[in-house]
């Protein structure tokens, strides 16, 4: 069998509650293998610790037990090989769209000449259709446009792994679809591996190869894996007509409802 690109090995996380002796376990014993090029999504209720799990993979939070391996090597700090797209975008508000993306390109390729950095930056501004808005500050943009910038920043580094933390949660429904299509296009055109966290079931089915279902916290765990065997390219309008769509959807919704 092919070796996993990203491996999560018996990872547990708990936090101390003031005034209580016992720690509260957020999730425990999460094991997971993700292969190169896969799109894997974790679905679960809020509070099950799925974002915490993502942060541990990103290296900005720590596992109490277990470890995260990339290409078989244990990681415990953030790195350019695991770019994160944040729910609240996390753009630098004092930098323009262009400068935000350029900051990432420059950081990832410190040896490049200015001209090459600018070329790459421009290419990704265009890739996410932000041309014309590149000199605006994030505060002047809609949520959808800000997340386009967030995606461009992450993709511009061309990382092997991307971690998406509820990337569409703060974007209105109409724009969400457009950006999901852009994400799929960029994922297809690159060989990036994506780990996403969401609570939107339709979004998960549309985008993922596999969906992991997490039980509600505290003490959450990954209970089930659903492989989405709907051929790509998937279209938003057509996918709901696929014979298996509703069986996947019902299974996940029943799981989340606790049946």
């Amino acid at each position: 069998m092919q070796k996993a690109l990203l491996e999560i090995d018996h990872v547990s996380r708990s936090y101390a509650v003031p005034g209580k002796k016992e720690k509260v376990t957020v999730f425990q014993d999460v094991c997971l293998k993700i292969h190169k090029g896969e799109f894997v999504t974790v679905v679960g209720h809020s509070g099950c610790g799925k974002s915490t799990l993502l942060n541990i993979i990103a290296g900005i939070d720590r596992a109490e037990e277990g470890m995260v391996l990339v290409n078989g090597r244990r990681i415990d700090s953030p790195g350019l090989d695991r770019m994160v797209v944040f729910q609240n975008f996390a753009l630098m508000p004092w930098l323009t769209v262009y400068q935000n993306i350029r900051l990432a390109v420059q950081a990832a390729y410190p040896d490049w000449e200015q001209q090459k950095i600018d070329e790459r930056t421009r290419a990704y501004v265009e890739m996410v259709n932000l041309k014309g808005a590149e000199d605006k500050l994030p505060a002047a943009l809609s949520g959808g446009m800000r997340q386009r910038c967030g995606l461009a920043r992450a993709f511009s580094v061309q990382p092997p792994i991307m971690l998406l933390d509820e990337p569409f949660a703060q974007i209105d429904a109409l724009t969400r679809g457009v950006i999901q299509d852009e994400l799929i296009r960029m994922w297809t055109e690159s060989d990036v591996t994506i780990f996403m966290v969401t609570h939107d079931v339709d979004e998960a089915i549309l985008l993922s190869d596999r969906i992991l279902l997490m039980t509600p916290g505290p003490g959450a765990r990954v209970a089930e894996t659903v492989a989405i065997e709907i051929p790509r390219p998937r279209e938003r309008k057509r996918i709901i007509e696929h014979e298996r769509y509703y069986s996947y959807r019902n299974r996940i919704i029943k799981f989340l409802a606790g049946e």
């Binding site: 990103a58 290296g59 900005i60 700090s77 953030p78 790195g79 350019l80 695991r82 770019m83 994160v84 944040f86 609240n88 996390a90 630098m92 508000p93 004092w94 930098l95 900051l103 990432a104 950081a107 990832a108 500050l137 505060a139 580094v157």
Partner: protein, 252 residues
């Protein structure tokens, strides 16, 4: 300011001048017209230099502004560096904060005897007084601003593997910029307030020295003129900082 505020402001100014005139007319105290006359004389040649005790008001103001710039400049560099360092260490900052607040509450002039005794030089003492006056507000604000930077920005810097120096220059300072400049503005105000008595007491050349000298000459009209000059310089400096803070402001 909008039009109505400007009209109101001008009317209030005239009213104050009128009250001043009414209050001082016929007394020993300087009236507005007397001050105006003195001001004209002083401003005719603001940069003349006729020996140590007789210099133009422009030269005196330049001395004071130079003292302000030196003390405030050095203190600000120290305060921002120390503030960034403290801001990243929340426990140490919390432990030191009460002391910073105490030091901030002490008038820098109160340190003067101690400083003068220690360094035995009036010029250096004046510099140190201004330095002490400028240090604390910037230090407290910088540490506060840095401690409250959104975690996301630092996470992004960590993910992008930006070096500590670049993180300081490109993430931490811009993120805390508005808070730091607010501190600098308060520091600048308190430093300018400290410059005048320091010069007066230490006999160092400048506007404070001029005030004291004119008081010794019993020339109250010149004292009032000097007071106005001090106020106007303060307003100009403050205006410059307001412009800086507008440039660094950002909306999240």
């Amino acid at each position: 300011m909008n039009g109505r505020a400007i009209i109101l402001s001008c009317s209030l100014g005239c009213l104050m001048l009128l009250l001043w005139h009414v209050a001082t007319a016929g007394s020993e105290l300087p009236t507005p017209s007397a001050v105006l006359k003195v001001a004209r004389e002083f401003l005719r040649s603001p940069f003349y230099d006729a020996g140590p005790n007789d210099k133009g008001i422009g030269i005196l103001a330049a001395y004071s502004i130079g003292r302000l710039a030196a003390g405030f400049g050095c203190a600000s560099v120290c305060a921002v560096l120390l503030g960034v360092w403290l801001g990243r260490r929340p426990i140490l900052f919390a432990a030191l904060n009460p002391y910073i607040q105490i030091l901030r509450a002490i008038s820098p002039i109160a340190w003067m005897p101690l400083l003068l005794y220690s360094v035995k030089d009036s010029g250096i003492t004046a510099f140190l007084v201004v330095f002490m006056a400028s240090l604390w507000p910037t230090l407290a604000n910088t540490a506060f601003g840095v401690a409250n930077i959104k975690k996301d920005y630092l996470n992004v810097a960590a993910i992008l593997q930006i070096s500590p120096l670049k993180t300081l220059l490109r993430i931490i300072l811009p993120a805390a910029g508005p808070t730091i400049v607010a501190g600098l503005k308060i520091s600048m105000g308190s430093a300018w307030v400290a410059v005048i008595p320091a010069e007066a007491l230490l006999g160092s050349m400048g506007l404070g020295y001029f005030v004291w000298n004119e008081w010794n000459n019993l020339s109250l009209t010149s004292v009032v003129f000097a007071i106005l000059v001090i106020g106007i310089v303060g307003v100009i400096v403050d205006f410059l900082f307001s412009r800086l803070s507008r440039r660094l402001a950002y909306t999240d």
